[in-house]
């Protein structure tokens, strides 16, 4: 049967089911096909922290939202056009987000009396007319799948488990996605278990055929590829991009990479990814605890490796003392904090920007360091390289503030040519004995000897003198050191000088980073929206909506949070009103007010989810109206 094909410019699909239903995998595969097809896309996985929360309950619902379009998009979207609900809990948990008229594809097999009661449905919503405002497709997905697999040598349970592939096949047909990638994926994933592979492939094809041959769907949709800048593309999550960025950065610096890490959600995937890359000379060390992870990384840096540690908020709290030691001994260290909802354990799988003040100030004493935040999943790659560049050039810890949304979310990423990447090795060198001794003599050191805290006048970085280098034997430690010579010093004026030198070194990096760029197309804006980190997409989308109404608004986004770009103060003063949306209670706003005496307007939502563009655009409109 030939069906009508309708063109759409963008679609938001949400797959939702029990955490055991394979919704993340289904979403991932649909995303891969969509990426290969050439749409721009953005994803939002959302799952419980429990590996298997009680089946059929609201806390057990796992979902994956995907926004894809024929044009450049910035967010995973606010409201789904299509909800795939594999059980009543998935319907109940997601219905409120659905606009009227949206499609609901529901697996009727799971809408049993017992399952309905579990989530408080008195009557079956698929039958009582309560969903009449939506396009309801009630399909017995489980039983059709089981039937399609009759004759295959798989148990009933395995047959039922293949229902997610049926749903995927159906959606792939509905949106004209290519199928080859998924078939190849299933072949390699289940290569060692041919029956299971056959079952999944058969279920996928059955879903596809179901869409094509039944009358359930009268139209098929098409979303044309997006016009992205030319190049080779792949889909990438923030955690993968960060891992690849670290490997690339070490390679560009000519340093061995050493990761010391303790498993923690949502950072563990970086450890997993890097532990697969031993052929690149990457050493990964799964430590006994968070402190051991960062300690080993710092030890490796002392030895001339690029020491890296990865964690999330609770781990950051534990690492604070060692990061302070890295500030004191002035060695390179890259600390990746994949923020999650806090305080304490908080909501491990949900996103938040709550660690900014901890990253900036959460150590004893005056303890300045560098803080960077990536804006999108793909940007995690570039941020890792920038963090490495600064860490090795200035011998300082650098904290990267990613978050759960960037970590697990994905987007199409233009694969860089190696020759485009910066040559980090040109930015630093290990201390060599002769030059430094000569410099020490010139500086009047007596007896002539190596001065481990004699700073480069341009960068204020101290020498990175690596064990094994003859003539540069020296001791470093957490006790205050005499300026230059580096021996223990309790001298009051020396301490004051060292406190200021450490701060001046970090402040000076502002001259070595790009100025803040402002997106203000017509130059008429009186309101600036200033964000940092993962809110880039939401703010960008909201700003576009506002501009479509004819209003003017400027957007700037901070990647460097310590030090700030040199022109930040001037940019802030250029606008009548500055709106600072953050997924915390106003941490950046607090600093801007204190540092620049600008009365910024803080907008805060701390729901464990990214901002919705619609919500932010209303907020921006309000500020413009009152400006």
């Amino acid at each position: 049967m030939t069906k009508q094909v309708q063109q759409l410019d963008r679609v938001i699909i949400r797959f939702a089911g029990d955490s055991g239903d394979g919704m993340q995998l289904t979403g991932d595969r649909f995303t891969q096909e969509t990426a290969t097809f050439g749409n721009d896309l953005s994803t939002l996985p959302n799952f419980p922290a429990e590996i298997r929360a009680p089946a059929g309950t609201l806390p057990g619902v796992s979902s994956f939202q995907l926004h894809f379009a024929d044009h450049d998009i910035l967010t995973p979207g606010d409201a789904p056009d299509v909800l795939v609900a594999m059980n009543p809990a998935a319907l109940k948990a997601n219905l409120a987000d659905l606009p009227r008229g949206a499609d609901i594809i529901a697996n009727t097999d799971e809408f049993t009396k017992r399952n309905l009661l579990k989530v408080g449905f008195e009557a079956n919503p698929l039958e009582d007319g309560s969903l009449s405002g939506y396009q309801l497709h009630a399909i017995p997905i489980t039983s059709i799948t089981v039937k399609a697999l009759e004759g295959l040598a798989v148990s009933k349970k395995d047959a039922e488990r293949a229902k997610n592939m049926f749903a995927l096949g159906m959606l792939c047909w509905l949106y004209n996605r290519p199928a080859e990638g998924t078939l190849r994926f299933l072949e390699s994933k289940f290569g060692s278990r041919p029956e299971i592979m056959k079952a999944n492939i058969t279920a996928f094809q059955a879903g596809w055929n179901y869409g094509e041959t039944t009358e359930e769907f009268s139209v098929q949709y098409e979303v044309k590829p997006a016009a992205l800048p030319p190049g080779l593309y792949r889909n990438i999550t923030g955690n993968t991009a960060l891992a690849y960025g670290l490997v690339s950065a070490a390679h560009l610096a000519g340093l061995p990479l050493f990761l010391g890490s303790y498993p923690i959600t949502p950072a563990s995937d970086i450890l997993h990814e890097l532990s697969k890359l031993k052929r690149f000379g990457v050493r990964t060390f799964q430590a006994e605890d968070e402190i051991g992870g960062v300690g080993a990384a710092l030890g490796a840096s002392f030895g001339g490796s690029l020491g890296v540690t990865t964690t999330s908020g609770p781990g950051m709290a534990l690492k604070a003392e060692t990061i302070g030691l890295a500030v004191a001994v002035e060695l390179p260290l890259v600390v990746c904090d994949i923020q999650r909802a806090g305080p304490s354990t908080g909501m491990p799988t949900k996103t938040e920007q709550g660690d900014l003040l901890m990253a900036l100030y959460g150590r004893n004493g005056e303890s300045p360091l560098v803080v960077l935040a990536p804006a999108t999943p793909g940007d995690c790659f570039d941020t890792a390289i920038e963090a490495t560049r600064i860490a090795v050039k200035y011998r300082t810890p650098v904290i990267i503030l990613s978050d759960g949304y960037l970590a697990n979310g994905s987007e199409p990423w233009r694969v860089p040519e190696l020759a485009e990447l910066p040559d980090v090795s040109a930015e630093f060198s290990f201390a060599a004995p002769d030059e430094l001794n000569a410099a020490a003599v010139e500086a009047g050191a007596s007896p002539p000897g190596f001065m481990p805290f004699q700073r480069d006048p341009a960068t204020l970085a101290r020498p990175w003198a690596v064990p094994g280098t003859p003539g540069l034997e020296h001791r470093i430690g957490g006790i205050e050191k005499a300026d230059g010579i580096g021996t223990i010093s309790y001298d009051p004026d020396n301490h004051d000088r060292m406190v200021r030198l450490r701060q001046a070194k970090i402040d000076g990096i502002a001259a070595d980073i790009p100025p803040l760029e402002v997106d203000d197309p017509d130059g008429n804006a009186r309101v600036l929206v200033l964000g940092w980190g993962s809110t880039y997409g939401s703010i960008g989308a909201a700003v576009r909506r506002v501009r479509l109404t004819g209003a003017s608004v400027a957007h700037a986004h901070l990647r460097h949070l310590s030090p700030f770009p040199a022109n930040l103060g001037e940019v802030l003063k250029r606008y009548d009103k500055v709106l600072v949306p953050e997924i915390n209670l106003g941490q950046l706003a607090l600093i801007l007010r204190g540092r620049y005496l600008v009365d910024v307007i803080s907008y805060n939502r701390v729901r464990g989810l990214p901002f919705r563009a619609a919500e932010l655009s209303r907020v921006i409109q309000d500020v413009i109206t009152n400006a």
């Binding site: 097809f37 190049g231 000379g281 006994e288 030895g303 190696l418 280098t469 957490g478």
Partner: protein, 362 residues
């Protein structure tokens, strides 16, 4: 400058390629004790046992036959942890309890270094207990010298995790409620591959234990009984005072019968439930008396030896309790990198970044 990027393949024309760097090199010149003395004034209290340990360490280091620049000393916090400042090599005086973790990162990324950890009973067994047991379990190639003075010195005299139960200190005016750790039992519980005990005042014995530890590939754990004359004076006097020590100190030597007491009149034998008991050789005869074997793979025997230590030092073995060979963590880690390259070829960065699902635009 050492060449560090041997592990980074200059795969695609970017970055610098450097030569290999693997084993600890030999010293090219003859080094003397003075070469390992830094210009820093030593600042322990007069009479502190740390002086003797430092002196023994400095005079032993030339025998290592390792260039000064390939020796690294890493410590935590406490009186003993000041030691790296006094040794003219590379060193780091880190933070409380974390030296084994920092040394793990250094030793497992630099097989060409001789890495020593200096720690104390509070540093290693209280705040840093976790790092210690895991470094021993992994068999990281570091030599850990634990100065056990059974007290907190730097913070001025609180009970430590090795202080005897009932000890009166500033923080336990009615006596400490806690049972002490036996550091050797703890290390053996973690199945450390090299476990020894020695005493600050016995320079010869101390030096011989350091030498054996240095020869051991993997983690070496050395407990050093160290006197703190200020806050816990004479804690080990029964083991150091002439007249008393002959009765109590049990010297362990691999392959030798374990004998102690006047004229070696006493020996050790396993009792019915696996605990060791001391017997008079004249009464019990030589049958069943122990000959020390530090190389037994199972740590139970060494553990039984470690239990002989008691608060009143009735019989206290010193020497090498256990020395077994098993792969060192840095060697295993390096071997995995080699295997990965053999099996998968050297890393190709461009191929990694592209992955398997790509599409081309324009």
């Amino acid at each position: 400058m050492p060449d560090l990027a041997s592990t980074v393949p200059a795969a695609n024309g970017h970055g610098r390629r450097r030569a290999a760097l693997t084993l600890v090199p030999h010293a090219t010149e003859h080094l003397a004790t003075r070469d390992f003395k830094s210009d820093q004034e030593v600042r322990w209290c007069p009479g502190c046992g740390d002086y003797a340990i430092l002196a023994a360490f400095q005079s032993f280091l030339p025998d290592l036959d390792v260039p000064r620049e390939n020796v690294v000393v890493i410590s935590g916090i406490g009186c003993s942890s000041r030691l790296p400042y006094y040794v003219n090599s590379y060193g780091m005086h880190s933070i409380h309890g974390r030296a084994p973790a920092i040394a793990t990162g250094l030793a497992s990324s630099r097989q060409d270094l001789s890495v020593w950890v200096i720690t104390g009973d509070g540093d290693a067994l209280s705040i840093g207990g976790n790092h210690l047991i895991h470094a021993l379990r992994r068999n990281v190639n570091i030599k850990i010298m634990l100065f056990n003075n059974r007290i907190y010195g730097l913070t001025k005299g609180q009970y430590s995790p090795t202080s005897e139960q009932g000890k009166i200190t500033k923080s336990s005016p009615m006596g400490s409620l806690e049972r002490p750790f036996n550091p050797l039992s703890l290390a053996l519980g973690a199945e450390a591959s090299f476990v020894a005990r020695t005493i600050d005042s016995d320079r010869k014995h101390l030096t011989s234990v350091l030498a054996a530890a240095a020869d051991h590939r993997g983690a070496a754990f050395i407990e050093i009984y160290q006197n703190c004359p200020i806050f816990n004076d004479d804690a080990f006097a029964p083991l150091t005072e002439p007249g008393s020590r002959e009765q109590r100190v049990v010297r362990l030597e691999h392959g030798q019968p374990i004998r102690f007491g006047p004229d070696g009149s006493r020996g050790l034998r396993f009792g019915p439930l696996g605990a060791l008991e001391a017997v008079d050789v004249a009464e019990s005869g030589e049958d069943g008396l122990l000959v020390h074997d530090a190389h037994v793979t199972d740590p139970s025997y060494a553990f039984a030896l470690s239990r002989l230590d008691s608060a009143d030092f009735v019989h206290t073995p010193i020497g090498i309790f256990r020395q077994v060979s098993r792969p060192s963590y840095d060697d295993s880690m390096a071997a995995q990198l080699d295997d990965a390259r053999t099996e998968q070829g050297p890393g190709d960065l461009a191929a990694l970044l592209a992955g398997s699902d790509t599409w081309r635009v324009g």
